[in-house]
Amino acid sequence: MSVAETRPGPAPHLAAAGLVKRFGSFTALDRVELSAQRGELLTLLGPSGCGKTTLLRVIAGFLQHDEGTLRLAGRSLDGTPPEARNFGMVFQSYAIFPHLSVAENVAYGLRARRVPREAAERKVAAALERVRLGNLGARYPDALSGGQKQRVGLARAMVIEPDLLLMDEPLSNLDAKLRIEMRDEIRRMQRELGITTIYVTHDQEEALAISDRIAVMERGHIRQFATPREVFESPAHAFVAEFVGGCNWLDATLLQDGAGAAARIGAGAAFALPAATRGAEGPARAALRTEDLRLATPEDPPGCCLEGRVGSLAYLGPRTRMRVIIGPGDAAVEADLPSALPLPNEGEPVRLSFEPHRLRVFAPESGVRIA
């Protein structure tokens, strides 16, 4: 905690550049770039198997990367074993030592650091107080609930005043309600203590709620590294658009006409793209979020909209999800519409419109954002 204040500076606290990690011929991490400012909470978000744990374990020192550099406060971490890095870790499985009491668990790292007994006891008490387990120090882990165990894990990792706190899906084994409660608590403590934190999750909502910045990972690559708002509102990669929030995907063709760039959806209407889009032509993939679509009104001119037939309707409470077949074939989009509106019936023709800037266009192969 004091560390954060005594070493000011513009340089990132943790900096990973060009990290590559291979298991045999399989590349688990591919040229990963990541940096965390002091006191920042940074999330690695991605589906199972994308390399989040691998990256975390490389940072922790349990795995040695094959290429690239990893620096903490400007110093290379190469050759520093995990036990000498002073990083706290919190585990999905809790990894609470079952043969030690709660207090002994929390004191574990202090003993390894030969902190004098009295000071250690004081720190342990304070740490347990902070995670609201002040009265459970003498308990053994088998008498704790999952949430309590993870609090012990947090206290144990924080009490050593780590230079970096690493958490690997710490809430995945908890039930939904407790998950939300705990994530808010983690965020509060992390802010209070100013501990630079790397948090791994596959839950996009958790990532959006808790992070200063999110690194969205896919197959060993970081597809986007930005604030939660940027990740959600302007995904830099098709994978990010799909993974964070979900999308309707449409085949599109990019055109350059007199007015600038435009995207033709399927065989239908062409939609103007922002002026910044230059030079791109040919096939592309267009994405529209379900909440960006609305029913077109008679004022909307022809050619502005997606036209089709209502395939199905699913009532979801305040919203109704409408599936619209727009052809060719069974190409379809889904739109979330306010349930209060009068909606057409299944089989009836329907027109959907959207704000042009909500249309996001990605390169078909690389998935990179074009517009």
Binding site: F62, D78, P82, E83, R85, M89, F91, H99, G109
Partner: protein
């Protein structure tokens, strides 16, 4: 996993680098050291025996001459046939006793169950040859039962030979069937049986169509262990086969080796090779079969046993008790007889400590040697075995696989073979070990190490890897973390493994009988020699001492385990 072994970029010299590497990744260093040890003390002796089996006894030329002699001679063929006969027969009997017991114990609770279980486990305490000797005391030429039957005019068939050896071996080894199959049954998903029953199968039908196929791998494993145990055993066939009269491969190898001392051990080596090839072939066959029909199903097998009340429960309790009582009779007879007065070769119904007095007089260093050798070997087994078990469970890769394989070899290779191998290669500098205590301790260690590595790997598999990572991230170097976290968690399982290893090491006979000299005679050797051709009272006394000391050690382990703070470790 290439987890560690982070090279220091500026490391100056190779010793410094090596030290640094060991500090960062001590487990690889331990694994390498153990591989080196095993190459010298397992691979080398066996390879040398294999080589000598190809050097013609007569011609001295490299080739198949010895094997031609072996398979061309009716004498050698008979030993091979005897080994196989005794092995098959004994395995069938052991299965016939062990399987019903395992089924009853896994599925039902009944009167007296815990006591019967203790009796079964206790019968594992005595080495098979003690049981063999007890059978002679009962059914031998002047055995108690034989004499009694003769008194009322019935001449019982002789206990010597194939049937006696098979029976004695089966009674000594059926607990293996019981333990392995009960473990297998515990893993069978009970809902499968319920499903079969709901589909209209009767109780027997369910057992036949669902339960048996599912536990077939564990039955096979058990059968394999029993068969290997029988064909590797030296003491039982030696005592009940009256030496040359009923030769089996293990006893044949031993006598060939003795008669060839000084000469090239060509035929002894060939006999050893045949024995090892049979054992290995069976292991591989069972392995292949079991993996092909793996029925691993971890979706909760453990439904609690059904409580049998009233008549059914009493009947089952009685039946199993009778079975176990019959199997334990020899041990009980030996123990009781050791306290009886002997006149000539006949026990009198008069209690006395005379046998023990004479036995202790003639004991010399045997008991002390046994305690020291077995104690040292056990300490090594616990230390190395738990560390290597950990490495095997936590690391994958060629090094670990080699290590696992090398350690498991002595599990399959008969003790007599290993003993002959040791005597063959360690009889000249730089490793002149024959006649030393070191060679006995080493062979004890190597033979029983697999028990401990298996036991400890089994525990480590069940311990969350995260605990070690947590310990390291909190500032403990690998070995410190191992000591503070893994060791306490592994301790109960290690103690259990150590208890078994202790009994096995303390009563080891088949390798040490080859390697002992006057100064390194042990208690099992003394007991064996008296049983073979000595004073019946002293033989009984030695056998009782052997079992008694083994049991005393076991009790110590049980106490040590009990004094651990009993805490339910959810995943242990």
């Amino acid at each position: 996993m290439s987890a560690t072994g982070i090279a220091a970029p500026e490391a100056p010299s190779w010793p410094a680098r090596l030290l640094r590497g060991i500090r960062h990744d001590p487990w690889s260093a331990i694994a390498w050291a153990t591989v080196a040890f095993m190459l010298v003390f397992v691979a080398w002796p066996l390879a040398e025996l294999a080589r000598q089996s190809f050097i013609g006894q007569e011609s001295g030329r490299f080739g198949l001459e010895n094997y031609q002699t072996f398979f061309g001679s009716s004498y050698f063929r008979r030993a091979l046939f005897n080994s196989l006969t005794v092995g098959v027969l004994g395995t069938v009997i052991a299965l016939a006793i062990g399987l019903p017991l395992a089924l009853a114990f896994a599925r039902y609770d009944f009167a007296g169950k815990p006591w019967i279980e203790v009796a079964i486990l206790l019968s594992m305490l005595s080495p098979p040859f003690v049981g063999a000797y007890a059978w002679i005391m009962l059914f031998g030429r002047s055995g108690l039962v034989t004499e009694a039957a003769r008194g009322i005019g019935i001449e019982l068939p002789p206990i010597y030979g194939a049937f006696g050896i098979a029976l004695a071996s089966a009674f000594a080894l059926y607990p293996v069937v019981f333990l392995v199959v009960r473990g297998g049954l515990a893993r069978v998903n009970r809902t499968l049986e319920d499903a079969a029953a709901s589909l209209g199968r009767g109780r027997i039908g369910v057992v036949r169509t669902v339960t048996l196929p599912l536990i077939l791998p564990s039955v096979l494993t058990a059968a394999l262990l029993v068969f290997l145990g029988i064909i590797s055993d030296f003491g039982t066939p030696s005592i009940l086969g009256e030496g040359e009269r009923f030769p089996v491969l293990a006893t044949l190898a031993f006598s060939l080796y003795l008669s060839e001392i000084g000469a090239e051990p060509g035929m002894a080596a060939t006999t050893c090779a045949v024995l090892v090839v049979i054992a290995m072939a069976l292991v591989v066959a069972v392995r292949i079969f079991s993996t092909r029909r793996s029925v691993a199903d971890d979706t909760g097998g453990g439904a609690p046993p059904i409580r049998l009340q009233g008549r059914a429960g009493a009947l089952l309790g009685f039946g199993t008790a009778v079975l176990v009582a019959i199997a334990s009779t020899p041990q009980i007879v030996v123990t009781v007889c050791s306290f009886l007065e002997v006149r000539g070769v006949v026990f009198q119904p008069v209690f006395t400590l005379d046998n023990f007095a004479r036995a202790i007089d003639a004991l010399g260093d045997a008991l002390w040697n046994s305690l020291v050798f077995a104690g040292l070997a056990l300490a090594l087994i616990i230390l190395v075995g738990s560390a290597i078990g950990y490495v095997i469970a936590r690391r994958t890769g060629p090094l670990t696989r080699t290590l696992d394989l090398l350690i498991m070899v002595p599990y399959v290779v008969p003790g007599t073979v290993l003993g002959i191998g040791y005597a063959t290669v360690f009889n000249e500098p730089p490793l002149l070990l024959t006649g030393t205590a070191t060679i006995i301790v080493t062979v004890y260690f190597v033979r029983r190490l697999p028990y401990m590595t298996r036991a400890s790997a089994g525990i480590v598999y069940q311990i969350d890897r995260g605990l070690e990572d947590a310990a390291r991230s909190l500032g403990d170097p690998p070995l410190t973390g191992f000591r503070r976290v893994m060791a306490p968690l592994m301790r109960p399982g290690i103690l259990a493994g150590a208890a078994i290893a202790w009994v096995e090491v303390f009563s080891e006979l088949s390798a040490s009988i080859v390697l002992y000299t006057g100064g390194t005679r042990t208690l099992p050797i003394a007991a064996y020699q008296q049983a073979l051709s000595g004073d019946v009272g002293m033989a009984a006394a030695y056998a009782t001492m052997l079992v008694g000391v083994a049991a005393a050690g076991l009790v110590l382990f049980v106490i040590a385990r009990g004094s651990e703070r009993e805490r339910s470790l959810g995943w242990l």
